[in-house]
Structures are given as structure tokens and as C-alpha cells.
Symmetry: C2
Subunit: 561 residues, 2 copies
């Protein structure tokens, strides 16, 4: 674990991956000199909680730098507790790989010095993408990456009335909530026709759209930003379709890996633009490792290099890098693109491949949309979730899941993520022995119900259409019977235009009223009864029956009330 002479490990970047690497290194190696370089005094902060500071959920911004018992993770903490030297306010200018030196400059004094290293860790993180549009430099236009950004947005939010958020990704959505809660009128601009475009399918994203609109967000999809205007300070944004007042513009269209230093040093970059690493987090230079948001990951399912910068991955990268730096061979197995985001009252999450991803890999993905209460439906406080689950037709391996709803999402995403990591099938999923009591789940958990619904589809027992596919039938003017099999009282309350009411309990007696030569699409609130109706009709000799998956709960379009 220790080396004969005192080796020096230099880590460039002192946030998640850098500090994780440093701390793990120290635990594995008593002797090594460990130096972390960072531009800011604000090292070892959690960036993910910053939107919630702006929302007002905690009052002291430095909380994001504290341990669970309230100790500030500053230079003195790392020195005294961890035996790690943190050189803050230092910029790493250049890596001299031949001589194993990093040239650094103190940002306040301008003083430069060279640090010798035995091994180097790149933990330079990401940099927010700021599109080169007119007005992007105006005051009041900024991304959210650092504590300084958070403090500035918090300050601006005090007097701002109108905010424009550019980008419907994780930060854009979190900030849409945060700024709305702060009392601002928020416009959310997204170039694509949906939010979370790389994470969710359109139908699932549409449920998020509905939530945003319900909370007063001015949601502008498919609307690119053209320029920002104002007199020194931003006043409005101009898009392809119009203009919106803005006292504050959050630019959240994405981040890129911060790789200038690595590229200048001749380290290999991967196809994603991030620093290429092997599974031990080692770069093309064996003396240099990379971890966190500057490094690429491998997708566990596709085997492809991907760039999904997240704090959860950064911590794992750091531990693996440190282990390998200390002779403990460990391979980082890669990621699944697991994500979670709260959007007002919705929990939104996903893991694994989308259908599109799977098709590109030559797989034959089959998906189901299955809504359900998150816990026993008699238990107070139960809330719905809509699950979209995808498996490969021939191998029956689960490929991914997306979940949106007010109910508990993260548990089910994590179960699927665990299954994906181990290559489980939808049949294995359906028979998992999950823990059960009414405060936690239904006797047959929502996820297992979704798995069974998908098995029915794979086995040819269920034939179905997604809500998007049904919408297409309407749009094309297809002739079909859209059979609402709910109770009259439910129909009275809310319904989809074009539906014909035949309550499920009456269906067996109304078979003679239905045509056998036309497509019948039964559905209900969540389409358990819709599926039941399909079975009844098929068993009565109707051959053109496909129930609509997800029912009204997953219908992302307008409803009649």
C-alpha cells in the first residue's frame, strides 16, 4: 500500500471527483504527499443541491460544503482531518508530461510554480455551454455551476419578475421550479419538441410538459433562442417565435467536459470529447488518471463511450482511480444513464436504453406503458406513477425504464438499474421478492405489474398501442372504436374526446353491438380494465383489438372535463 519513497500525487480539481480521489488515496496510502489544486476557495462543494438553495429550501449556501455533521470542508479540514494539501486559488496552466510537472499560477498574486508529480489526476470537471449569441455577455445572463453562480442568481431573483431559462434539461427543470417558487414568472425555452430529450421518450416527457404548464411555466418547445437584449443588463430574449421579458436568464443548454489542459498536454480525448480513460480511469498517459465530469464513461448496455456528467458517477470514478493508483486493481463497470429529477410535484427518472437507443444497437425493443398507484391503493397518500418499461424481444432482457408521476419513482428506477447491471430479464423482474407492506407497495408492486404487462405483450397475449400511436390514428382519421370501459361516473369526470363508453362490467352483454371488422381500442384510467376488455373481446372472437397502454393516466394530450 505504501511506496518506498514519498510519492507525490497531484490532483487538478477539488470538487467531487478530485476530493473523493484524494480522500480515498490518503486512506490507502499513509505516506504519499497529496496535493489538490483548485481555482476557487470553494472546494469540495456539492453542485447538485444549488437549485434548492435558490428555491429557499436551505439558508446557508456553505451547507453544500459541509459534512453531514456540519463541518466545513475547507483547506484546514483537508489538512487536519485528511492530511491533504489543498492549493486553492491556483490555476493549473500546463502539464509537462515528460518531466512530470504541472505549472500553476496563484490567481491573486500571479506567482507561478511547478509541481512535480509522480502521478496526476485530472478532475477538471465540466464547463457550461454558453452559445455564442448576441447578448450572451449581458449582466443577468448566466449558467448555474458554481456556488458563485448560485449566489448571484439568488441575488438577482430578489428583484426579478421575469426569468427565462434556456434549456429543458435537469438544471433547467430544477431551476424552473426554484424560480417559480421564488415568485418569478418563468419562461422555459427548449429548442427540441420536448424537455429531457436524451432521457425520455416524447410521451413520457409530455407528462412533464403538462406539469410545467400547470405550475405557470411559459413552456416554449421547439423554439430556439436567437439573441438577448438589454442595456448592459439583460431585459428580454428574442426567439424564432417571439420575445420574452427577462430580468434573469439562466443558460442551461448543457455542459462540456473541461479538457483544455488535457488536450494541450496531448492526452487522448474520446469520441464524446471527454478525456479517454480505460476502465481503471487511466488516461493515454499511464501516470495520469482522469475522473468525474472531465472523463468519459462507458455505457454498460451498449458498450459505447458516453458523456453523462453526474455527481454520483464522479464519486465512483474517484474511488476507482484512487484504488488503481494504490495498486488495488478495480474496473469501473460503466453507467446506465440513470437520472432523477423532481419537477414540482412530479418525480421523473430513467435508466438504461430508450427504444431508439436499442434499435440503433440492433435489438428489438418492446415497451409497455403501465400506470399504477405507488403504494397499496387503500393506504392514504398513495400517488400514481406512470412506468414505461422496455425489454428485448428475443432475449427478454430488460433494456430500460422511464417513470414519471407524483408517486415514488426512484425505488423502481433503482430496481431496474440493479437488474440492468446484472443482465436480468423481464421474467426475473416479475418474480422479484420485493419487500411489501401497504405503506411501501402494492402486494404486486407497480413495477412488477408493469413487468407482467410487458410479458403479456411479449408472449402475444396482449396487443396494445401507446397513447402516441392512438393519437396518430386520430390524426390520420382512421376508423376505429375507441372504447372507454370505465364507469359512467369516471367518464363524467374526465374523458378523451372520441371515446365510446361501455363499462367493463357491461361489456360481456354488449358484444353484439360491436363490429368485428373494425379496430377496437379499449382503455380505462390506467388500462388494466382496458387489457381486460381486450381479453374479453378476443375471447369472443374479435380479432382486431388493441388496448391503449397507460389509459387516461398516460394520455399526454388534452382531456375533456
Amino acid at each position: 500500500m505504501t511506496t518506498p519513497r514519498q510519492r507525490h500525487i497531484v490532483i487538478i480539481g477539488g470538487v467531487a471527483a478530485g476530493m473523493k480521489t484524494a480522500c480515498r488515496l490518503r486512506r490507502l496510502d499513509a505516506q504519499a504527499q497529496i496535493t489538490v489544486i483548485d481555482r476557487s476557495h470553494n472546494i469540495s462543494y456539492g453542485a447538485c443541491p444549488l437549485p434548492y438553495y435558490i428555491e429557499g429550501l436551505y439558508d446557508d449556501l456553505s451547507e453544500v460544503r459541509k459534512t453531514p455533521v456540519g463541518v466545513l470542508r475547507d483547506e484546514a479540514f483537508f489538512s487536519k482531518v485528511k492530511g491533504i494539501t489543498a492549493l486553492t486559488r491556483y490555476d493549473a496552466l500546463k502539464i509537462d508530461r515528460d518531466n512530470q510537472q504541472v505549472l500553476v499560477r496563484h490567481l491573486d498574486t500571479g506567482e507561478e510554480q511547478s509541481l512535480n508529480y509522480d502521478q496526476l489526476v485530472m478532475a477538471t470537471g465540466n464547463e457550461p455551454i454558453l452559445p455564442p449569441l448576441p447578448g450572451i455577455d449581458l449582466d443577468g445572463v448566466l449558467p448555474l455551476k458554481t456556488m458563485e453562480h448560485a449566489a448571484r442568481i439568488d441575488e438577482l431573483a430578489v428583484n426579478a419578475k421575469h426569468a427565462v431559462i434556456v434549456g429543458g434539461g435537469l438544471i433547467g427543470l430544477e431551476m424552473a421550479e426554484a424560480l417559480t417558487e421564488r415568485g418569478l414568472q418563468v419562461t422555459l425555452l427548449e429548442m427540441k419538441d420536448q424537455v429531457l430529450a436524451t432521457a425520455l421518450d416524447f410521451g413520457m416527457a409530455s407528462l412533464v410538459h403538462r406539469e410545467l404548464v400547470a405550475h405557470g411555466i411559459n413552456l416554449r418547445l421547439g423554439e430556439p433562442l436567437l439573441r438577448l437584449e438589454g442595456n448592459g443588463r439583460v431585459a428580454r430574449v428574442i426567439t424564432a417565435n417571439g420575445q420574452y421579458p427577462a430580468d434573469l436568464v439562466l443558460v442551461a443548454i448543457g455542459v462540456r467536459p473541461a479538457v483544455k489542459l488535457a488536450r494541450d498536454a496531448g492526452l487522448e480525448l474520446g469520441p464524446t470529447g471527454a478525456i479517454a480513460v480505460n476502465e481503471r480511469m487511466q488516461t493515454s498517459d499511464p501516470a495520469i488518471y482522469a475522473a468525474g465530469d472531465c472523463a468519459e464513461s462507458t455505457d454498460r448496455l451498449s458498450g459505447k463511450k458516453v458523456y453523462v456528467p453526474l455527481g454520483s458517477t464522479a464519486n465512483k470514478h474517484g474511488r476507482v482511480a484512487a484504488n488503481n493508483l494504490c495498486g488495488q486493481a478495480e474496473a469501473f463497470p460503466g453507467i446506465l444513464g440513470s437520472l432523477a429529477v423532481r419537477v414540482f410535484n412530479l418525480n421523473v427518472g430513467r435508466t438504461g436504453l430508450t427504444s431508439e437507443d436499442a434499435h440503433l444497437l440492433g435489438l428489438d425493443p418492446v415497451s409497455i406503458i403501465a400506470p399504477s398507484p405507488d403504494i397499496a391503493h387503500v393506504f392514504p397518500g398513495n400517488k400514481p406513477i406512470v412506468i414505461k418499461l422496455t425489454a428485448d424481444r428475443s432475449s427478454r432482457k430488460v433494456l430500460g425504464a422511464q417513470i414519471v408521476g407524483p408517486g415514488v419513482m426512484d425505488k423502481r428506477i433503482d430496481i431496474v438499474a440493479t437488474l440492468l447491471a446484472l443482465g436480468g430479464t423481464v421474467d426475473q423482474l416479475a418474480n422479484l421478492d420485493l419487500c411489501y407492506a401497504p405503506p411501501y407497495a402494492s402486494a404486486m408492486d407497480a413495477l412488477l405489474q408493469a413487468a407482467n404487462a410487458l410479458r403479456n405483450k411479449l408472449d402475444g397475449l396482449a396487443e396494445s398501442l401507446s397513447p402516441c400511436e392512438v393519437k396518430e390514428l386520430f390524426d390520420k382519421g382512421e376508423d376505429f372504436i375507441f372504447l372507454d370501459v370505465r364507469a359512467p361516473a369516471e367518464f363524467e369526470e374526465v374523458r378523451i374526446a372520441g371515446g365510446t363508453l361501455v363499462p367493463l362490467g357491461a361489456l360481456r352483454n354488449k358484444l353484439q353491438d360491436l363490429p368485428k371488422d373494425r379496430l377496437i381500442v379499449p382503455f380505462c384510467k390506467i388500462s388494466l380494465r382496458g387489457y381486460e376488455a381486450q381479453i374479453i373481446l378476443q375471447q369472443a372472437g374479435f380479432t382486431k383489438v388493441k388496448y391503449m397502454e397507460g389509459g387516461i393516466a398516460a394520455w399526454p394530450y388534452a382531456l375533456e372535463k
Copy 2:
């Protein structure tokens, strides 16, 4: 899917497994005649939510028989919607396997008839164990299994002041909460020295004990019930140690499989006393299947036959039985003993093997106790959980987990249950790509932190003692330094007797004050700093250092305030 002539499938028992089997059968087979026999009109009810009815969380007892949209699952529902005949108020008296007939008697008219079957499904459920003690037949002494029991307990609770619950299992604990919330003074008698004796280790159960006592439960452990006294109506219970007033006595010492009918018919019973079935849920008679609480299951990890009657398993049994009855070969893979129970503000759950189970199987289990906040600690509403995670030393396969705490437990138990089903290792667990955002988890989830702590132990990096082992050292009068490395303010607030305060930040400067020849046991609030202290001491040449796992958060004994 269909048979040439109309076959008749008779199902004895119309609750979870029976009705699941019936409904799935109908979906797979349009023609079959399906008859379900039950003694009660109250078919297809959920028993698990009954304690919460008594607690007052919902007002209408029939909710447990309704679909999520409020339709009562009565005889008419099964007939009209499902095409299933439910013969309620019928008792199945005898199975004539040679002639494939079931003799039934109507409980109101006394009329008997024989039903021919092509295939038979035993779904006779369980029966609560009532110990043959004096007074067990007194009015006011009853188990909780049926809706009728729930209604009667609810009625008794209106005027009762004192309740005694016999048995600290799932129902006993749920009812301790329910009756306390109803304003009764509750005494909980448990023969063993801990609640949930087959599910949790003593240390974890002790956290539940603390919660029960904190909510006013008179918890009597290791105290067997001797008799019940009263004049027609129960008035008090007498134990080996004393007597307790009781207007209501809930007997919840366990259930046994209801197998009289099966035994009388000569069907093979397994080592657990439940009906023996193969993995297709087929009994020793190929024409007879069994599902739910009357049937045994196989433990996925040990391969042994086990009896763990739960609604979650009953539903899966029913589906597998129906599939096999319709020619869809499906093997039920068995269970993991996954359990969940809410005890006041605690969430309590477990899955897999305990250390004791694992030892009996010849494995070499290594466990860690690791407390953590359930979500990002800066996020409001985060709550602690204590995780006990066990893996096999040589294979590193995860063997089981127990979690107790106010924070989110079920997500982590279900992740472990998924991993167990697929044979994953603790190393695979530690690198899972779980979904992350501050409202849902820490960047490194509590469970992954526990996995890493266990890896450190398996790898010889961490040496540790459980709180129970430390207590033993104290009890034996061992000479060791119990090193509390928290901050002075934390020490002031709460501490364990016998601890010596040396805050972690000061430790590197106080090494000369500590002896190298005595055992040092560092700990903190959750023992992350305790582990850190162990590393610092070991790296300084101290060889006798073992940190106390779980810290104060997992210390199940008295604390000084």
C-alpha cells in the same frame, strides 16, 4: 390455450392466491369453467391493510375488497367482469382425488354437493395460531386475519383502555401502532428477547424496541404468556413475570398453513408443514396445484423449503400456477424472505440471509452496520437509516440486508433483493448506477456507502466491532479506549458512557497521548469519522484499533444526555 372440451378448474379459497389464479386462468383460457369456493362472502380482500383500518387511516372496511377505482370485488364482479363463478359461504369438506371431485357444503343451508374438477387449486391460506392456554376462548381474545376480526377489534377498541398484544411479529408490531394511535395503552408480550426474531438481528431489533418504548408501548421481552383471565370477557393476562390489564388481547404469535383438507386427501406436505409443491406450484398430485399461504416456497439463497406467508408471494404463486395450468411452463424462482413493516416513525425491512442463516449454510458471512441520511444531507426532510449489509467473505456475494430508521428503507431493501435474485457481489453493488438527485439520494447513496464500508472490511482496510461486540467488551470489563471522535458540542448533547472525547480534527496532534499497547475503539455519530480515526491511528503505527460500526446512530443501548 383452449382445450377441446370445457374443462372445469376448481379453486378452494378466494382471497389473494385463489383469485389471482382464477383471474389469470380466465385471461389465458376463454373456455374453461372456473369455480372458486370460499367460506365467506368476503372474498378477494387484502388482509395486509387491516391494521390500518383499525388505526383509522381509512373509514370503510370494504375498501380492502375494492379495485383501485372503487369497484367491489364481490360475486357479481367476478361473474360479470371476469367470467368466474364464486361459490361463497361454501366449505370444502373433502377431496376425492380418484374421482376428481370436491365435496362442498353450504354453510347456511347445510346442503352438500360434489363438484367435478379437471384440475384443482388449493388456495386455503393460513390459520392464526392460538396457543391452548387457559382463557384463550374468552371474549375479547382474537387474532387478526379476516375482515370480521378487524371489525370486531375496531369495535372493541372503542371502549377498551388496555390492550395486550401477544407476539412481536409483523402483525403484532402493526397493531401496537394501530391501537396506540387509537388511544389504548398497549402491552406487547414477546417470548423471545427481541421482536421480529426470525427477521432481524438483535442489534437491529433493539432499534425497534427503542421506538416502541418511546411511543409508550409496555414492551415485555422474554416474557411468555401463561393464561388469560376474566369473567366471560377477558380482563387481564398473566405472564411468567406479572399480570397486565387487558380489555382486548390480540394473539399474533404466528400462522400455520391451512392444510387439513390437503392432508386428509393424502397430498404431500413439505418439511415446513405447508403443502409441498414443485416449482410449477404443482402438488404431489399432478392434477392439483397449491398457491399462497397454504403452500411452501423455496428460499432462493439456501435452496431450502421455507414458509413465509405474504400477500406479495401469494400473488406470484397464483400467476405461476395459472400459467402452468394453461400450458405456459413457468418456474417460480422462490423467495428471499423480504419483509417490510412500519413501526411508528420507523421503517423496518430486511431481505436475504441473516449471519446465522449464512453460517448454517457453511458460508463465511461478514457484516457491516452503516448509518446514513437517506437523501442528500443538505436537503430538508432527510432522515437517518441504519443499514446492516452482509456478504460472503470468499465469493463476495451479497447475502442479505436489514434496514431500520425513519428514512427511506424500502428502496434499499429492494435494490438488495434484486441483487440477491441475480447473485450479485458487494463490488457490483458499490458501483451500481442508481438514479441521483438531492431529493432522492446522496451522490453516493447510503446503500453504496454501506457496500464500500463492507468492501473495506472484506479487504482488510477496516477493522471494526459491532455495537453489540463493544457492549460485550464493557460487560466483560475489558481494558480498552473507547474513542469518541466527534466534536465537543456533539459530545455535550448525547454520548455513550465510557467514551473519551478526542475530536477527529485534533487526533493527528494527540497521537502521543494514546497508548499503542491497548485496544482503541474509535466511533462517532455514524462512524464515518470513526473509520477515519482508525485509518489515522493505523497509519501512525497503532496496531490495535477497531472502529465501532454504526456509531451512536446504531448503538442500541442507553445513551447519556
